[in-house]
């Protein structure tokens, strides 16, 4: 049609045929992934968003009508949601992920490995304490374990969950080491 933009027809209420065909396919889960960015860009263009939105909403309405249960009043819901989402502070915004999706599992594994190594090192040090203690004591000033525990507990209150677990593990390791030291030799 002469005078149409790429985004909408001249009447301003209907998306241009190219966009409308993409919207139709989107409604049927038949829009190729490669076309999604283009469609989103067209929907977000100045003045075209309303036409594209209206077209998609009416296409969905037509489908429900053909199945015998159209609800024209439902056409306002997406507008209301968009208004609510766009208002600053009214709805918590989606926080974009800082890592690509494929890296999220790797980050989880890395955190688990760090935690496991830290725990193993702490427990391992506690278990070997009676053997290496004389050498270590000779080389370093005596440590007040009570003060260290207090520090770790206090610090843990201001740390994340992972740190808190490390603090707990350290305290447990200290107690285990103490029990082993106090226990009579078989």
């Amino acid at each position: 049609m002469a005078g149409d933009t790429d985004m909408q027809k001249a009447d301003g209420t209907t998306a241009a045929p190219a966009v409308a065909e993409q919207l139709s396919a989107l409604l049927d889960d038949a829009l190729p992934a490669e076309e999604v960015p283009l469609l989103l860009a067209r929907c977000g263009a100045n003045g075209a968003g309303g036409a594209a939105r209206g077209t998609l909403a009416r296409y969905a309405l037509i489908g429900e009508a053909l199945r015998g249960s159209a609800e024209p009043r439902a056409l306002v819901v997406a507008d209301r949601v968009r208004t609510a989402v766009d208002q600053p502070g009214s709805v918590a915004a989606v926080v974009p992920r800082t890592l690509p999706g494929w890296l999220m599992p790797a980050a989880g594994v890395a955190a688990s490995v760090i935690f496991a190594v830290a725990v193993a090192a702490t427990l391992g040090a506690g278990a070997r304490a009676p053997v290496v203690a004389p050498v270590a004591m000779a080389a370093r000033p005596a440590l007040d374990t009570g003060q260290i525990t207090d520090y770790l507990v206090y610090h843990g209150e201001y740390s994340g969950l992972l740190s808190a677990k490390l603090v707990d593990s350290h305290i447990v390791a200290q107690r285990v080491a103490a029990w082993r030291t106090e226990a009579p030799a078989p």
């Binding site: 889960d29 909403a57 296409y59 159209a70 968009r82 989402v85 709805v91």
Partner: protein, 190 residues
């Protein structure tokens, strides 16, 4: 053929902060969610409130959506919970009004007054139905068959292509042209 991931791509983009993608999901599913809400409440205004709340809850919960189920299945569950919570809240309010002696008939009267099944609304729905029927009757056979196989029988484009012995691209075009023709008829009514 290029991949067609359904809602996955839109959901991923919405999770990355693209509000246009979430808006398209709302537009796509608002009819179905309002219909679902209308199974729980009689009053359309309440159903719209429930649907709106469900979409907003979904938006808030979107970062936690892992795609273990389809997006619509997940949204459907949220909408059911919203409807149940709405009913529970309404029952609680009614019980409180009854307990204070302010309830009873007045609640029913308010409900009746808020019911917007007005003659104008009913007439509009009737006009809409007639316009769609007229548009369907005027469609060429291949367009009417394509859109009915899709919307009523729920066939995929590939299945329709097999049934109509034509390429998938033709199916896409036929369904679009059918919708476009129907849309021309209903647009003045909305």
């Amino acid at each position: 053929m290029a991949s067609t991931p359904g809602d996955q791509d839109l959901v991923a983009r919405a999770q990355a902060g693209d509000r246009r993608a979430f808006d398209l999901l709302c537009l796509k599913y608002q009819q179905r969610i309002v219909k679902l809400a209308l199974r729980y409440v009689r009053e359309p205004a309440e159903a719209l409130d429930i649907a709106q709340e469900a979409f907003i809850k979904a938006y808030r919960a979107l970062p936690g959506f892992r795609g273990d189920s389809a997006f619509y299945t997940w949204l459907y569950r949220i909408a059911i919970n919203s409807a149940k919570n709405h009913l529970a809240g309404r029952d609680r309010r009614h019980a409180e009004l009854d307990a204070t002696g302010d309830g009873g008939d007045s609640v029913e009267v308010v409900a009746l007054l808020r019911d917007d099944e007005t003659p104008e609304r009913l007439a509009m729905q009737d006009d809409l139905r007639r316009a769609i029927e007229a548009a369907m009757a005027a469609l060429p056979d291949e367009l009417r068959t394509a859109i009915l196989l899709r919307e009523v029988d729920g066939l995929s484009y590939e299945e329709i292509a097999a049934a109509m012995e034509c390429p998938v691209g033709t199916v896409r075009s036929r369904i679009f042209r059918a919708r476009e023709a129907i849309d021309e008829r209903i647009r003045p009514l909305l």
